[in-house]
Symmetry: C2
Subunit: 208 residues, 2 copies
């Protein structure tokens, strides 16, 4: 049709990636047909095969691109606040926003689905995403521990607890399509609740 001028192949490529991501994330790899992608992106199959070689090439391009997007959005070195509570709150909100973004919901779904078919893709997704976030938080906690602000045996483990609480059932519900992503208001409430419990939890031990 006349959706895109034929003179801009890069625009074509982007449109294909966009449309393919939508369909892949919605339907899964096996259930997604090249025809369905073309129907959404316009143009013809020949376009896909010229640009990406085959179905698997297109899929890999999508996952890598979006994992990179999530990675660059995860620069928390800069959000270290005045005190630990502020840092945790900002980090939690940031994390929640990323986890709940349609893009990462889609990547998450596809990672779970195709874990067997594309183990390398899944590994790099985890390491660049949740794994990296946890490690970065663990470093922050390590610093707080040395300053005596918290008590913790294993900061890596405790950091995992924190990101687990952030994901909560909310993430699961959104991933399962049982509810829409939360609005800012709800995010703030949930993060505040998590930070409150977490801070009390790691600060002092009243017994034992």
């Amino acid at each position: 049709m006349l959706a895109a001028k034929s003179g801009r192949p890069s625009g074509r490529r982007e449109a294909l990636l966009q449309a393919a991501a939508e369909v892949f994330f919605e339907q899964g790899y096996a259930a997604t047909s090249i025809d369905a992608i073309i129907e959404r992106a316009g143009g013809s199959k020949r376009n896909i095969y010229n640009e990406f070689g085959n179905k698997e090439g297109l899929f890999s391009a999508i996952v890598n691109q979006n994992a990179d997007k999530a990675l660059t959005a995860l620069a928390i070195e800069e959000i270290e606040g005045r005190d630990l509570r502020e840092t945790l709150t900002a980090f939690g909100q940031h994390l929640m926003a990323i986890y709940m973004s349609p893009t990462l919901i889609g990547v998450y779904r596809i990672a779970v689905t195709e874990a067997n078919r594309f183990p390398d893709l899944v590994k790099s997704f985890y390491e660049q995403g949740p794994g990296r976030a946890t490690s970065q938080l663990a470093e922050v906690l390590e610093g707080a521990k040395k300053r005596g602000e918290i008590r913790a045996d294993d900061c890596q483990r405790v950091a995992g607890h924190f990101v687990g609480m952030i994901r909560d059932n909310l993430h699961l519900q959104v991933v399962l399509g049982l509810r829409p992503p939360p609005l800012d208001e709800e995010v703030k409430e949930a993060v505040a609740s998590v930070v409150e419990i977490f801070l009390n939890g790691v600060r002092g031990r009243t017994d034992k």
Copy 2:
């Protein structure tokens, strides 16, 4: 072949369900072929169509059966311990064991994958599984709150935090096939750490 006597149709049915579950959970719905199931279960396609009608019927039977399994394994009314710490520890270990069982890992994968194709199945899976667990824990917490043992604004929300911490990154890693399920020793350590933080977190507020 001679794997099952032809006189026991119920044995046949069970064998089919078992084999189909393995392939479905491993490959996903769309990528699983009837032939692949037969190859693993023995017999012939006719068997599947006589017993379950079609591919979708077989799939639904599997998910329902395994969701039921998880449901019946979730009777926590009986594991209320002497004090809150004991109850939470037992509940946490129970929950972790269920979440990490190969069966529920498979169901979880399929639920995430096929959320769009089978919304009703996914909904009942969530309500019978994570949703139910959270609600039951919320009731326990509500009791503790009335007895003054903990402080919490919204027990349902806080219960969500707890199950989130239990899932942790461990669950994600297992679901993604990045590591095997934890052994008993590791489960106990993780749950103890979670309970420690959670109890301190909801018990007293040292500031504010």
